[in-house]
């Protein structure tokens, strides 16, 4: 039944010239709209955490930030940032590959992205172990772990989505047509969002 619907949808994609189907936009498909709306809600969630961060830092703040004697490992976080930014390029490469019908490129891109994401998470957990302060240590500790932990949870979810996409890619799913690789495109959009949020978290928490 489902395959019949999908086949009909593809046929209409090529032959349909009139107004869009009922309850469906002609400019965006439902899956992409869904992830877009989800990301909008996530931006608001991160916004609340950033508001707390700036409130603690600017309004409640002690003289120095981070408060003495705490120090943040900027170099390690910088390397982690480079790893996560690279993973956005690899997921983009995976999608460009499948758009051109290159299945090997799709698989390689997805596996590389997954590995880079896992490396990011591993380094962050390792950083937590060696930081020398906990979430109980002042408002600084609480907001640091809340903000970076919230992002880490998003990376974990992104890795789950990428795992599904990778398994499907190795099982022969996905194709060059736009509707045939939504299962990679939607996790790809989510992964880019996670990447952009980390860039903002890194600059705000570690650099400024």
């Amino acid at each position: 039944m489902e395959s019949a619907t999908v086949t009909l949808g593809h046929a209409e994609e090529h032959e349909h010239h009139g107004p869009p189907e009922a309850h469906q936009s002609s400019s965006i498909d439902r899956q992409t709209l869904g992830i877009f709306l989800f990301i909008v809600s996530e931006v608001m969630l991160f916004g609340a955490f950033f508001a707390s961060y700036f409130f603690l830092r600017v309004v409640v703040s002690p003289e120095s930030w981070p408060p003495e004697p705490y120090e943040l490992p900027k170099a390690v976080a910088g390397i982690n940032t480079a790893i996560l930014v690279s993973s956005s390029f690899t997921v983009h490469y995976a999608l460009e590959s499948i758009r051109r019908g290159n299945r090997t490129g799709l698989k390689a891109g997805l596996v590389l992205t997954w590995m880079l994401g896992a490396a990011f998470l591993f380094i962050q957990i390792n950083e937590y172990v060696h930081l020398g302060f906990s979430a109980r240590d002042l408002g600084f500790g609480s907001i640091f772990y809340s903000l970076t932990g919230l992002h880490g949870a998003h990376v974990f979810v992104g890795l789950m989505l990428l795992s599904f996409a990778t398994i499907r890619a190795f099982r022969g799913h996905f194709g060059p047509a736009a509707h045939d690789h939504l299962g990679v495109e939607v996790p790809g959009i989510y992964w880019h969002f996670v990447d952009v949020m980390w860039i903002i978290v890194f600059v705000t928490v570690y650099i400024l």
Partner: protein, 60 residues
């Protein structure tokens, strides 16, 4: 309006370049200047985004 991975990836690159400029300015001067530059970039991006939305509404 097209929302696709390609469009979002472009934003990753734009945000990345903006972040590099903030990091360089902060490391060369003081965090305050980096924060101010970041604020300027956010304002410019917001104005640009508002104009884009108004233009798209007129097209529809």
């Amino acid at each position: 309006m097209r929302i696709s991975e390609q469009a979002v990836f472009r934003w990753v690159v734009i945000v990345g370049v903006a972040a590099v400029s903030i990091i360089v300015l902060t490391l060369l001067t003081r965090p305050l200047f980096g924060a101010l530059w970041g604020l300027v970039l956010v304002i410019v991006a917001s104005v640009h985004g508002c104009r884009w939305i108004v233009r798209k509404r007129r097209e529809f």
